[in-house]
Symmetry: C2
DNA sequence: TGTACATCAGTGAACGCGCGTTCACTGATGTAC
DNA sequence: TGTACATCAGTGAACGCGCGTTCACTGATGTAC
């Protein structure tokens, strides 16, 4: 069969999307080339027509995961002013839903400890994604804050740490209660009082 | 050769210690049975005289890692009153040294994202370790704090998250500066002012 | 208009390798008689 | 006191399996003449 001009690119996109899910769910070492190709409806032999190596796929998958995750949050905060966007972000991030679905969640929470063990391409993709998220959050912080970038990084560390820790708790109900607590603490650090308005 | 009464236990201990280091450094899937046995000066064939499976070794390794890490911090805070112990803990945890040496550091920072993918034995060992650390920190928090356990968990999430994030940064100097920032923010959440005394 | 050839995404068998696990064996020493 | 046997931590070869990677091939269609 002969394919349309965009066919190969579409196939690649399908493969990368499947990999982005699988990598977050099972980790870079937990996914196989054959498995990803099968999820995209193909056989493993065609893989190297799209990617030079598995590492290149994982790097592309991480880029895609950050892109999709950013898009999700962008939609969520569309049209909101900075304080409202910040609150909406925390309310969506530090939740049982995020805990339960690493495959469509933030790559930081899903892959933080895997990362130092990855190759340079993967690390570069991850680092870029982390910086992007920090920058977005910094932009929402009050302008009177002396170091918005540093506070944003610290908030990302806490939010991702909270979700990752909650995933280690086997009792889902207890994890949910703890996430609600953690969310309240994070929002208070963002400058919101208990009622939800920023001081 | 015939061995002393304690010989087998000593061998097991050696294997577990080697595994505790290797697991934190390369992750549960990154270590091999043969490699660990070789580090303990043995051949892989003898492994199953000590452990029923690789998972059992990883679980034992995680227990050992939490135990050793706890002991380290116990020595560090020995004889200090609660506020001083809290400060000493943060000062030791959120550092470039900890960033650079996952193999002798906190298992939470080293393994958080690997954990949800592990089997029940490993998860149980990890969860017990997490609870132990949270309890220790909660005990150092001011008694007027309304929910010490919850604040302690939140602090653990932030500290582990900060170290894990710093490991993703390729520039060691920038990571060091960021860790110093993060450390200051964490200590301020613990109730210390910039001069280091608790209000 | 018809025929031969080029193109190229995808197929599926095969490769080498490392891993977790199994198992028959070793060899030094304690013990039973 | 001497001999045969039991014990048991550790050895090393072998197993089956899954993985990343390679490669000759397929088959549908566009193109050159």
């Amino acid at each position: 069969m002969r394919y349309s001009d965009t066919h190969k690119q579409e196939t690649r996109k399908k493969v990368v999307k499947a990999a982005a899910k699988a990598v977050r769910l099972r980790g870079p070492e937990g996914v196989g080339v054959a498995e990803i190709m099968a999820e995209a409806g193909l056989t493993h032999g065609g893989f190297y027509a799209h990617f030079p190596s598995k590492e290149a796929l994982v790097a592309a998958a991480i880029e895609e995961a950050f892109r999709a995750s950013a898009q999700r949050f962008e939609k969520l905060t569309e049209g909101l002013d900075a304080p409202a966007a910040l609150a909406a972000f925390a309310d969506a991030y530090v939740t049982p839903e995020h805990r339960a679905h690493p495959e469509r969640g933030c790559p930081i929470a899903a892959l933080s400890s895997d990362l130092p063990r990855q190759g340079p391409q993967v690390r570069a993709a991850y680092e870029a994604g982390v910086r992007g998220l920090i920058r977005r959050i910094a932009g929402w912080l009050p302008t009177q804050e002396p170091d918005r970038e540093s506070l944003a990084a610290s908030l990302v560390a806490e939010m991702a740490g909270a979700v990752a820790l909650s995933r280690a708790m086997s009792d889902a109900a207890a994890a949910g209660r703890w996430l609600a607590d953690a969310r309240a603490r994070i929002k208070s650090r963002m400058g919101f009082d208990a009622a939800g308005s920023q001081s």
